[in-house]
């Protein structure tokens, strides 16, 4: 599973994209599972004023089930305009 990273999350995680191994991926059923995993691995994510997960180009609810083919992205506070 690949998680696309944007903005400050690239600095916090130290990469442009995050590859999750099959072992990790199998434990992550929902968006909430993924958020909990990421904040445990990278505690500085908790300092952000917001942290959203986008699944297939839409902001996802915590209860959404993750699928193998989903495009997943980590969205920190936006600052356009």
């Amino acid at each position: 599973m690949t998680v696309l990273l944007f903005g400050v999350t690239k600095d916090i995680i130290g990469k442009n994209t995050l590859m999750l191994s099959d072992i990790v991926k199998d434990k992550l059923k929902t968006v909430q599972d993924l958020k909990m995993y990421l904040t445990q691995e990278y505690p500085n994510l908790e300092n952000l004023s917001s942290l959203a997960i986008a699944v297939n180009n839409e902001y996802a609810d915590d209860s959404l089930l993750l699928k193998q083919t989903d495009e997943i992205a980590l969205i920190p506070p936006v600052s356009g305009g």
């Binding site: 903005g7 600095d11 992205a73 506070p77 600052s79 356009g80 305009g81």
Partner: protein, 147 residues
């Protein structure tokens, strides 16, 4: 959503005054329009302690951002009786004093364009995955957060 209908809103670097003038001029043939309203976002020379911002470097989740801009346009047309609407946003580096966001709404009468522009700009500021990195004069940076 059909991808072929999604326009690319992003322009590399600052949005020039000539581009904005040309956009206005293109509407001269749309004679049912009686009112335009324009929002221009400009890169501000902020200071943090003794550091001075010299530019903002914009990056985006471009595919999702273009979907979101499209959704915002659709929502604005649904809520307000607009004749047309255009959005352009910078990607890459925009120096202080230059324009990074151009939102342009047009309708037969004025009240609609005032209300529609406020709605659209607020949606853009809160929904679209664009990320501004404020670059200071000493080349250090901080990630901007919209207020």
């Amino acid at each position: 959503m059909k991808k072929e209908n999604i326009k690319n809103v992003f322009k590399e670097g600052a949005i020039s005054s000539q581009f904005i003038a040309d956009a206005i001029q293109k509407h001269q043939s749309k004679t049912q329009i009686g009112a335009h309203n324009i929002f221009l976002g400009q890169v501000r020379k902020d200071t943090l302690e003794d550091k001075i911002v010299k530019a903002i470097e914009y990056t985006a989740y471009e595919e999702m951002a273009n979907f979101k801009f499209h959704e915002i346009k659709e929502a604005t047309f649904t809520k307000f009786d607009l004749t047309c609407m255009h959005i352009y946003h910078s990607i890459g580096t925009v120096p202080i004093g230059e324009i990074c966001l151009f939102v342009f709404v047009s309708a037969p009468h004025r009240q609609v364009v005032f209300d529609a522009l406020t709605f659209a700009v607020e949606e853009i500021k809160t929904q679209v995955p664009v990320f501004g990195k404020e670059i200071f004069e000493d080349s250090s940076y901080q990630w901007k957060i919209n207020k």
